[in-house]
Amino acid sequence: MNIYYSIKRDSWENSLLRLSSSYIIYGVTGNGQSTDYDLISERNISSLVYNRPKPATPLKTFFLPVRENVTADTVKEVPRIIIGTPNCDIEALGILDEIYLDESFEDVFYRRRRESTIIISSDCLEIQEHCHCTAYNINPFSTGKADLAVILRHDDIILRAISEKGIELAEKSFNAVRSDDRTLASFVESRHHETVEILNRTGKGLPDYRTTGRLVKAAGESVWKRYSSKCVSCGACTTICPTCTCFLLIDKPGFHKVKQMDACQYPGFERVAGGEDSLGKLPSRFRNRYMCKYVWKPAKFHSTACTGCGRCIEACIGKINKNELFRELAK
């Protein structure tokens, strides 16, 4: 579903400020290349940015804090609105939901945070060097998983309602005017199309997403050895990844447990009693991340474990570029 609304930028901002009495509002702000989520108030509402590629922080941190006590008997449920999330991060919620809302063991902290958060996506009309969502069959604009998406055009905010909830938001919370002629729709569609074209061009040489798993599986030891030779096992690639959510429970007195983000790229992740560690050697540890994302998780879950956001490439201090690796495998 795509229903279009339009609203003046200042009345959109006023509506948001009005909503901030009952919601905590986070939005993407920033300048130049770097953007990130910020707490939004009157002070900075005009610095919200729209239609820019992904912010520095992946969306997952709103639902899975880096570190938290998980033996508490409550979770602070503050209704939140998050504005400006790009579609790659929205798509990443698919696998998070499968893992954390799994009915046999539902994570109540995740569930409550997820339910008390409204996400307003932003369609990407610009890209960054390493963005490659379309290579993983993901659009740079939200389709199924979001309710509402925003596009800035001159001084107007165009709202695209994707679900019933999105319609309600647009009409009730923002009093936006529904546009039933095709003008807004064709403007937005042509911008979507342009972005996809750019992504397809920059993503040239990347393998078809249906073959990545096969290529990773078939890659020889020498590939992993060569690419991992610059890896320092810092875990930046997994920490920054919107779909990586591995963690460790740490015991505290009073039978409390602190759940802390962990990474298969840290030595010892799979060490068992007696010292055996199947990921003890760097190349096998490095390969594990690829096998997990492109072979094992796709076999186990219905959602993607890589959205092509490109953050892992930007974050790597060893300057390891997974797209270079994939281009080599695809040759």
Partner: protein, 274 residues
Amino acid sequence: MPPFNNIYKPFRAKLTKVIEESPLIKTFVLRPDEEFAFKTGQFIELSVDGIGEAPFTPSSSPLVRDMLEVTVMKTGYMTGYMHDMKPGEYMGIRGPFGRGYPVERFFDKEVLILGGGCGFAPIRSLLYNLIAISDKLRKVTLCYGSKTPEDCIYKPYIAELRKTPKFEVLRSVDKADSNWNERVGVVTVLLDDVKVDISNSVAVVCGPPVMMKFGTLKLLEMGYPEHDIYLSMEKNMSCGLGKCGHCMMGEYFVCKDGPVFTYAEIKNQPNIWN
């Protein structure tokens, strides 16, 4: 609002007795604050307050609901603390987790069990279960190996088992002393002595990784089909819930999809023997 059901929060269990099984192995008898039911082969996450948490398979009968026993080898940090604990102290329990032994599939069959070291812990729980349903089984043969006679655990239990109809016990040690009159050698040598109708049998293997590997290879060589060999896999674990990722073995979460697998299910996964 639905109840706040917290999967990370342990409930308490009082340590009522500590039994010394061997220099490195102790059995801890626990009385949980809540009634506790598990299927044989499932495991629990057991916490030492403020120190750490680790996975253990109960070694007691799954038919007993108010008490629980775990048999623990001292191998490192958490188990080191545990071995110093005294009756009266409290521990934390989460679970039970995972998929245990599908005992219904053993009906009308001979069960061959191969165990080594601390792998005997889950096997004892299985044996309790099998004794309770022995009228539905043809025969149960336990082959159990340890390093030395001193490392043989559950001595009184073995003596009892030897008197139980339909149950047979074969033991081996890597290194014998002058009193040892059973087999000497790695546990797989016992398989040479076993008389079993393979076409009507299932095998269960539990023990240290090397033993599991060579045990499985030998069973395959003997003619056991891959789907009739049940393995209890050991991986690093943290959550037990299929979330933290530590126990991943290829596309399986060992904690949730296992820890009991047939060899057929896992033979193509990486690092199964570590």
